[in-house]
Symmetry: C2
Subunit: 270 residues, 2 copies
């Protein structure tokens, strides 16, 4: 084990721990896309203990938008199931701090905001299945274009738990029909990172009036020989939390995710 730290220091950000240490020390700032290829990244929601039981139940009831991959003990900034030497207060490049539903700060570290009653929820993210799709030769339009995935609020209601309720948010990736079928097969094997799509082909049926006007992210073109394919999106819990307006809440800044020690391949089933 004596060689461990040296090896870690020598590594750039090619594994989850190295990436977190680079983030923590300020060596890496900004979006985490592309960091530590093959390692799972997660969405973050930190809530006061008083809301934690209801939010955990919300995740259980809505596993497609809210696949819970990590959960801390109250007040504990560690999430051992996701990584060794993980400090949820400092290991994300940028945070958003909310009071009564209002954004009050976007710091690079939330140690100063920490409270003994905070519970961290880490929710699976589509980076994991996008890696599997790309490895299978399927083009991901927003990645090819170098922009954010387009996301839409839908007319599909999440299942409510206590105060948590609101519409399902979906991300959209246009694909040729044969690729869409393969994408269903591939993403179905990743239930912990949103799983198979929730809709395909007819956006108007799920309350999306205009694909060119996403509610979050950037619009991408859908060609005549393609179908829009929709996956449940990890923005759903942030949207729901914003509706609830908890007295205090911390989330990750969009695109600045938690990089974990878990491998994407570990999340593949079947």
């Amino acid at each position: 084990m004596a060689l461990g730290p040296m090896r870690r220091q020598a590594a750039a950000d090619d594994d989850g721990l190295a990436a977190r240490r680079n983030i923590r020390s300020g060596l890496h700032r900004g979006p985490t896309a592309g960091l530590a290829p093959g390692f799972v990244q997660g969405n973050l929601a930190i809530l006061p203990r008083a809301l934690a039981a209801d939010f955990q139940r919300f995740c259980r009831l809505n596993p497609k938008p809210c696949p819970l991959i990590g959960l801390s003990a109250p007040g504990d900034w560690r999430v051992p199931e996701l990584g060794e030497d993980l400090d949820i207060r400092s290991d994300i490049p940028r945070y958003r701090v909310w009071r009564d539903g209002e954004l009050v700060a976007e710091p690079e570290d939330v140690t100063a905001f920490w409270r003994d009653d905070l519970v961290s929820f880490v929710i699976g993210c589509s980076f994991s299945f996008e890696e599997a799709l790309t490895q299978d030769g399927i083009e991901i339009r927003h990645i090819a274009m170098g922009c954010n995935v387009p996301m839409y609020r839908t007319s599909i209601a999440t299942k409510e738990a206590g105060p948590f309720r609101g519409p399902l948010v979906v991300s959209m990736r246009p694909m040729k029909p044969a690729d869409a079928i393969r994408a269903v097969e591939i993403t179905a094997r990743f239930p912990a990172v949103h799983g198979s799509p929730v809709h395909i082909g007819k956006p108007e049926l799920i309350g999306i009036a205009d694909l060119a006007k996403p509610d979050y992210g950037d619009a991408v073109p859908v060609n005549d020989d393609e179908l829009p394919v929709f996956w449940a999106c990890g923005v759903t819990p942030q949207s729901v939390v914003a509706t609830v307006k908890p007295d205090f809440c911390i989330t990750h800044y969009p695109g600045c995710m938690l990089v974990t020690d878990r491998k994407n391949a570990e999340f593949e089933v079947g």
Copy 2:
């Protein structure tokens, strides 16, 4: 084992062997849909040995339309991998006999036509995955309507092997988008019975001009909130064989399949 025959006689057609014996004895005539629920049924193509190697290669190259689940030795009317006491000459309710590509007979038994050089190919059939879809609560339109599944020749070419070539034939089932996604997930687990769809949503992209005019089977309505979902179809090899016009060939009469001793569940993977 002494009770075996009595049990078999007492059974109606609730397993594959009982169904075959009822067919062989003339107790059951006509289509096999609904016989021996849970047991695999198969499409049949019997070819002279001179063509068998090419046709076997054709099946290997085109596993979605031609999933080979049983293969006999030349001249042998048994297919042990599919069932005990199985006589391919008499265990199908009705056959079609072809000479030089022309239909010459539709007998209920082909013992009189048997030759020492004939090789039997049994190819998986969509009955198996339709059972899985129905068990998952997905409506199959043509079953609900009591008609045949609509089938279409496509612009997708099969991979050729020797003289065997021609267009892929697909079957179509209309489904709501969420059901279509589940259907992809379910049928992907049955690669030996056509597997996942080959197309979804845009028939014109695969050379189908009018869904209301199938090339085989019966038209079924596709509602505004549904997508047409297309699977590779076991009619493909019959269509290809008809193109090749072998000097001699036997196939099953449409809807009159071989009922086997294998269970649909055995063909589920993953």
